[in-house]
Subunit: 747 residues, 2 copies
């Protein structure tokens, strides 16, 4: 702490000198130059009225701001958590200023500049004497908001507003604002809060962008450097952790560039998953846009092989057919590419990237654009009929700064999408779910990933913050569609341990038009246990739609209990096994997430295949799984020990295998037929699979024979060891020889 | 039975003579004349290519039939229940024939006539020797299908096909078909199955229409008379009941006209509710259309003051904002005016009614029309730009043949819709839920009515038929948003008793633009107990949206326990009372539906108002209910004792008041604010009501004072006795005098 204070003092001195220098020469810079540019404003003004999507966005913004100007300024004393009045109003004010600034530039109407100025001056007046926010829950309390993070959000937006009205203000007014508001604000969220700022974390990215953007507008090199590289010479406690259990600064890295470097893999996958990537995306891209405009020499969009633009492509591919992001790790369902951060992302990616016409189709769906140079380019592209569909294909996204820490594989085949996670921990927002999956059809969940246990910004639910069930349920392994061994989560749900390891890709194959396969291995989740999961999404003419084949091979150094749930969405229709249902519902365990699951039914399999059919949103689904009479089948429902009704009451079928050392879990999931409550007709409501059989199970190969109801058979063989594209394989099954090249065989 | 056989013989004789006569003179009749007319065909041909919605429908039908002709005829031996192959194929064949017949007429292409002819001939060949259907579950087994009802469906469609190809067939072919197929078919479903045919019931309506329509085509007066008036001189057992517990023929009425007379109220409400009305509608209207065309002298559309056309208006008004029918009684959710029966209804209502341009907007949404004279009229109306919105207003629909057996009141105010049921039993599909309600916003349920416990035509669920939970749960009072006394359903859930009684309207008021009120009384559900429920949907400037005020006044001759559930849809957000949640879930009772409810939480109210807020589909809701510390609040969830997972796991808050004689349940339900998972912003997420208080409770008046969070107060007074529009009232509350004219006061 003494070190930090010392640093703080010396940095403040440097800042003072720099700012003195820059306040003298700053008029030399042209404004706006951050997001809007002087040339861009000219171009936009020239095109106004002829670019429908831009005109529409502008009109909506103008109506919104005009109404706000009429209703008058609101400047509450900060006091609430997220969802509360003061929080929401200051959040709103930052957006209003940013929008009004843009309107001033585009429409050249001083009333908008005046509105921004008045708000800024009121903030200046308040901020001068504003104490730290009264709410105490955050590790880094802000001043306008309960957490620094929101203060940083504010400055990212307000920097843009300031840039837009810069020339409207007198030098004196600018000095007042910079001296009493912007510089202390930037210092407070950085030097004043190193736990927040000096870190590789999405919070810090906002902090970096905030400091950097106001630095760019103020032409303040100290702030710009602090944004890019972090607070110089600041030593942090490398063992400290945040409330989520994440390390604050284990490796001493900080600043915007480190925040690009660390969390993004070379493929553009963001280590916390798409929900947080979406949140982090805006500061990454808006600051990058500012840097590109003001400091083009930095070539920020080429940094790390152009990872910022790649990350947008990755993010768009991490969404379902409706554009909703797959809720990997702590992700709130429903978040989608309709979020305003994605409007920025799509526009910026189009303009600063290679003008991918597929992005125009997403911009068209978003039905709004950025009111800047990039938005103009998108609007012109749409106007000129250059729109092409954005085709999402099967894609494998590596995880880790250098792409070697596992990844996420997405298989797509017609309307079906498999999301398979074999990534690293995912930072403090990671879940303990190695080799888990979720499964979608046309944007509807077939097999769900629960997502987070939180109602973001809904004050009534724990202030809109993470609920305790996020830790006790959502993060636990049993909440996911993967193996839980001995009723204990992966890595014992210990963040330190989980953060050390990742799963590894065995192979990913999407070249074949009809068969897509991903296979990955994990040897760390349970020491002594090796899990190899191979998932294939297969289009076969004997099936109405592609079906999913799921092979989980477990090798262990001792006998264990394996629990293997399928969180199916919908109403149970039929099973091929007899089950009993209890009179009273009791949870199936006391800890590790099991305390949240009621046992609703149980069975001993009565045949070699256990089948479950269900109906969801007008479609039929059937799970067929290879079982023996030593297995148990449990119907569970989420909701036990949930004293505040924080969890959704949703079902699973859990396959339990006790006292087994090595084993194979083999299942198929078929989507078939349809039901219309309007026509009341059920089509193709039965499974197409007559039998599912393991016909070979060696260390080297697993072979599954699928017998179709029409009598045809399909054989899938996967290579458990050498899965290279060139590898030659030969096996004998039931006295028949099979030979092939590559990781798998299907016929 | 001997009587029936005797009748059968003599009727067959008459039929023989008649048919002899008619086969000689039948060529005298013009064909088509049933649904399509010769003049209509001319008009359609003249307009083809210029009437978009008609052309589109025609094209779709043509593509469908062309594909079928290519794939070849399918004529399985009848053997399955609903959802099975033979069932579905014969159902499909009837539609294919009807459509192909129409195509032949409109396109004048003989391949369609040939296709119909081939199918008819194959049916003729099979039917001659076809035994009764092997499946035994029905009280009236068919031949092509497991129940006569489906055989009747078939004949309704095939009559139309026959009419279309009548002139294409030779006299000999017609004789073959009529002698071996149509006449025996019509006889089998009528004379052969009097339990099915000779009745006032939606099944019989199909039977009547089937017999009548083939009669019209064959110009067979015996069949036509049998259709209109039932089987002559047939005596039925007046005490017999069907599987659903409904009387088969208590009053000896039968035939199409009796089926119009009995179930429709003068307002057009169908006694079983909209779901079954939709089902019954097609035979009512298609036979009526045929009668209007062939026997215009009958003036069928003027019968009973034009009740058939009125019923269409009633039915459309019994749908929510998405066009889905309110699931009163046994109704399957999701059925809507997009059902093909409603295409017929809307087209026929437009053409034979007063050309209501509002109907055109529904036809536009349906995006298809009948391929007949009425569909042509609709298509021309749309083409000529005559479309107007179909505005659904607050409406009161009386129940009972003469409109004196209670009814259903629908209050609409902005986007909110209250459905209040004070009807008669609703025949065998009725539920025991006097004075129950459901509540909707923009087509989403706020407070749900459970509907039926059935998966119609989904074979895996009890053959697609009613599940036992329909009786043990869905029909029971506790499954509904009304009072259950002493844990026993209304009328002890005895159909005989329930069928004798109905609730009565106290008043319905929808003249006021901002306040809509319905009030009804029931004195029969529990002998000795009088329930008066008054529900008001009030738009008030202090509230964001209209709110619902619910006043249930109970007077009893002894102390009872009253259970008053609210089946709220969505995720619980907050309560203003402390509750405990049990470790294990146990059902709250052993019978009368209680066995299906788990207790998930319980509380003793801690203040005079108990509040529950929840979130559903992006909107916030708050229930505020007047309570005392003698009440109990129970959180329940459906699903106990449900060994086949037939029930949906949905929640309720149940207010329990024990050992009380007279009491008032007073609640408000507010819809407020919004939550977007994309913007992650929660707007207006808190209740606007600070206090809800009963300020007057006499035999004559109930007065409720609502204190708004801004300090304003609202007073609602309802007259419990004299509720006429002219009645003058004066009361003193807290020493202040209030005087008004009419049933209620609000200020």
């Amino acid at each position: 702490m003494i070190l930090a204070r010392h640093n703080k003092f010396s940095i403040q001195l440097v800042v003072f000198i720099w700012s003195l220098l820059f306040s003298i020469c700053s008029t030399a810079q042209e404004h706006p130059n951050l997001i809007l540019t002087a040339q861009g404003v000219k171009d936009i003004r020239a095109q106004l009225g002829t670019i429908p999507i831009f005109d529409k966005t502008l009109k909506a913004v103008q109506e919104e701001i005009d109404a706000e100007i009429t209703s008058g300024l609101k400047m509450p004393i900060p006091k609430d958590y997220s969802g509360g009045y003061s929080h929401d109003q200051h959040k709103r004010n930052m957006i209003l200023m940013q929008k009004a600034g843009v309107l001033y530039q585009i429409l050249d109407d001083e009333k908008y500049a005046l509105y921004v100025k008045e708000l800024l001056m009121q903030y200046e007046a308040m901020y001068k004497t504003l104490p730290i926010h009264p709410k105490t829950r955050s590790y880094a309390r802000g001043k306008l908001f309960w957490q620094c993070l929101n203060d940083a959000n504010w400055l990212v937006y307000v920097s843009q507003a300031y840039d837009c009205v810069y020339n409207f203000l007198s030098v004196e007014e600018r000095n007042t604002l910079e001296t009493n508001l912007f510089r202390p604000f930037a210092d407070f969220i950085s030097i004043g809060n190193p736990l927040f700022y000096q870190r590789v974390h999405n919070h810090s990215t906002w902090g970096n962008a905030a400091v950097g953007m106001i630095g760019l507008v103020m032409n303040d090199e100290v702030l710009i450097q602090r944004a890019l590289y972090g607070i110089p010479d600041l030593e942090m406690d490398k063992t400290a952790k945040d409330d989520d259990g994440g390390y604050i600064n284990k490796e001493g890295k900080a600043g915007f560039l480190a925040n690009i470097e660390e969390p993004f893999s070379p493929d553009g996958y963001y280590n916390e998953g798409p929900y947080y990537q979406r949140y982090a995306m805006y500061p990454f891209l808006i600051f990058a846009e500012g840097l590109q405009n003001v400091r083009p020499d930095l070539k920020i969009f080429e940094y790390k092989n152009g990872v910022l633009l790649k990350s947008i492509n990755a993010l768009l591919n991490l969404s379902d057919a409706d554009g909703e992001f797959f809720p990997l790790n702590d992700g709130q369902k429903g978040m989608s590419y309709f979020n305003s951060a994605l409007v920025s992302a799509v526009n910026i990616s189009y303009y600063y990237g290679n003008k991918d016409q597929g992005l125009l189709s997403i911009a068209q769906k978003q039905n709004e654009v950025l009111l800047d140079d990039s938005g103009l380019a998108v609007a012109l592209g749409i106007k000129n009929g250059e729109v092409k569909p954005f085709v999402k294909k099967s894609i494998n996204l590596s995880d880790g700064p250098d792409g070697t820490q596992g990844g996420v594989g997405i298989l797509r085949n017609e309307d079906l999408e498999l999301v398979f996670k074999y990534a690293a921990q995912g930072s403090s927002h990671g879940h303990y779910d190695k080799l888990s999956f979720s499964y979608y059809e046309k944007g509807d969940e077939i097999i769900q990933d629960y997502g987070l246990a939180r109602f973001v910004n809904i004050e009534q639910k724990g202030g809109g913050n993470y609920l305790k069930e996020n830790k006790t349920w959502a993060k636990q392994t049993i909440a996911h569609n993967t193996i839980t061994q001995n009723e204990t989560s992966h890595f014992n749900a210990e963040f330190d341990i989980g953060s050390k390891f990742h799963s590894d890709l065995h192979y990913f194959s999407s070249e074949n038009k009809t068969i897509k396969v991903v296979s990955a291995i994990d040897i760390h989740a349970y020491p002594g246990t090796e899990m190899l999961r191979t998932m294939a999404l297969i289009k076969d003419e004997d099936f109405e739609k592609p079906f999913l084949l799921d092979i989980m091979k477990v090798n262990a150094n001792k006998a264990n209990q394996y629990d293997f749930p399928y969180y199916f969405m919908g109403q149970l229709l039929k099973t091929n096994f007899e089950y009993t249902t209890p009179e009273t519902l009791v949870s199936i365990g006391a800890k590790n997430g099991y305390q949240h699951l009621y046992l609703e039914g149980s069975a001993i399999p009565s045949s070699e295949n256990s089948k479950l059919s269900w109906l969801n949103k007008g479609k039929f689904y059937t799970l067929t799984t290879v079982t023996s009479d030593k297995d148990e089948l449990l119907f569970t429902r989420i909701g036990a020990n949930d004293p505040e009704f924080n969890l959704r009451r949703e079902a699973a079928l859990l396959v339990r295998r006790k006292n087994v050392q090595n084993t194979l879990f083999v299942s198929t999931i078929e989507s078939h037929g349809s039901y219309s409550p309007v026509a009341e007709s059920a089509k193709n409501s039965n499974s197409t699979i007559a039998a599912l059989k393991i016909v070979l199970a060696t260390e080297d190969y697993t072979a599954i024979l699928i017998t179709v109801v029409n009598g045809n058979t399909k054989l899938f063989i996967t290579a458990n060891k050498n899965a290279s594209k060139e590898a030659k394989h030969a096996v004998k099954i039931n006295n028949k020889n099979y030979a092939w090249v590559g990781a798998y065989f299907y016929n």
